[in-house]
Symmetry: C2
Subunit: 201 residues, 2 copies
DNA sequence: TTGGTTGTTGAGCGATCATTCATAAACTTG
DNA sequence: CAAGTTTATGAATGATCGCTCAACAACCAA
């Protein structure tokens, strides 16, 4: 009986992610959103409720994608530490590619910094997402510890926070638009940090 | 002959820094600025030209203060590496203090991320400031190299970028609002990274 | 005092902000 | 086709955006 929607919800969300990733929450006007999604205001509000609602869904979508990327990446490595080291280098490499992504810095971190004193709901969401990522890293590191890759007395949550800080720093630095070589060096140097946590053999 | 200004330019700038640091560029409206500076729009525009101009001066002011803080800090240390390690720990400690500063994350980095795809002038300014800070670190590290603290073949610019990334990551992580203990651990872990660059003795 | 200069004020500018809703269009079912 | 239901549209909303400027206030030199 009803008229079916003419747009693709997932595709619209992907476009929203791209816009918000580039311009942030305050930097993206509804007019720009309408243009990016090729939707009229009525449809946007019927589908996502509000600008906040759309941003929230976009952020969740981005985080889910990032988590899937990490899982997929780690599946290719027997050694967890080696996988995490390669992950750091991969981030450095992808940030070096021009127009590989809408922006270099992480959307979650951008949201954390932008929303911390202006939008409690988005700030809280960014905090939750980052806490979940920290937990993912901690679980990976616990596996590494169980496999004897890193020392038995390693504080995995603590090391997970150090690792997450590395990624935050790497991608923030990438936003300075350094050369590809400089970014690769930085990725290598950060990967080397993990080396010192490995069990001596 | 003329009527002297009734406000204190430096004091007004300090208040602008505080507001922008908290809410960012797009998140600070002229209405909020008027209230924070206790100035009427006419006076603000006569003094700073525009919202962009005010932000630009505030950012420069913040950066200068940061540079002075670094110099003052380093003056208290014979060992440059030890000074930089203590600097990382000091940042962690001050970020842990509630209401020690308007925000934890660095205003320059916040500006870099917010302005990169919305405001070329501010983006460029943030880039310049960060490049200058990188150079300061590189010069400090060159001195450390000359004094034999770190290996003679050390690439000081490269290490300076790693150091700057640590600070970016540390202060971004601080915006997640971790416990004081967790932040101190993170500062310690980042200081320990520099340990591995020291010359063995 | 007075004249000249500069600083301060705040109402109000056009533009844009996020959002709404009456209307029109599109589709399925009977 | 016609009836019924849902979606799409975009002009229009009040609020707020950054900003201007004519009028006024405050000061100094003469």
């Amino acid at each position: 009986m009803p008229r079916p929607p003419s747009y693709d919800r997932e595709a619209a969300l992907a476009k929203a992610v791209s816009l918000f990733w580039q311009k942030g929450y305050h930097g993206s006007s509804m007019k720009q959103i309408e243009q990016a999604l090729d939707m009229r205001p009525g449809s946007i509000y019927a589908t996502f409720g509000s600008k906040d609602g759309l941003f929230s869904e976009a952020l969740a979508n981005y985080a889910q994608q990032g988590g899937a990327d990490l899982s997929e990446h780690m599946a290719g490595y027997d050694s967890i530490v080696a996988g995490l080291q390669a992950y750091l280098r991969e981030i450095a490499g992808s940030c070096a590619d021009t127009d590989c992504a809408p922006a270099r810095a992480c959307l979650i971190v951008k949201t954390l910094l932008e929303a911390s004193n202006t939008n409690p709901a988005l700030y809280s969401q960014a905090q939750s997402v980052l806490a979940a990522i920290e937990t993912s890293f901690a679980e990976l590191l616990e596996s590494a510890r169980n496999q004897g890759e890193i020392a038995a007395q390693t504080d995995c949550r603590r090391l997970a926070r150090l690792l997450q800080s590395q990624i935050m720093g790497l991608r923030a630095m990438a936003e300075r638009n350094p050369s590809a070589a400089e970014l690769e060096q930085l990725g290598d140097d950060m990967a080397a940090i993990l080396e010192s946590y490995k069990v001596r053999n």
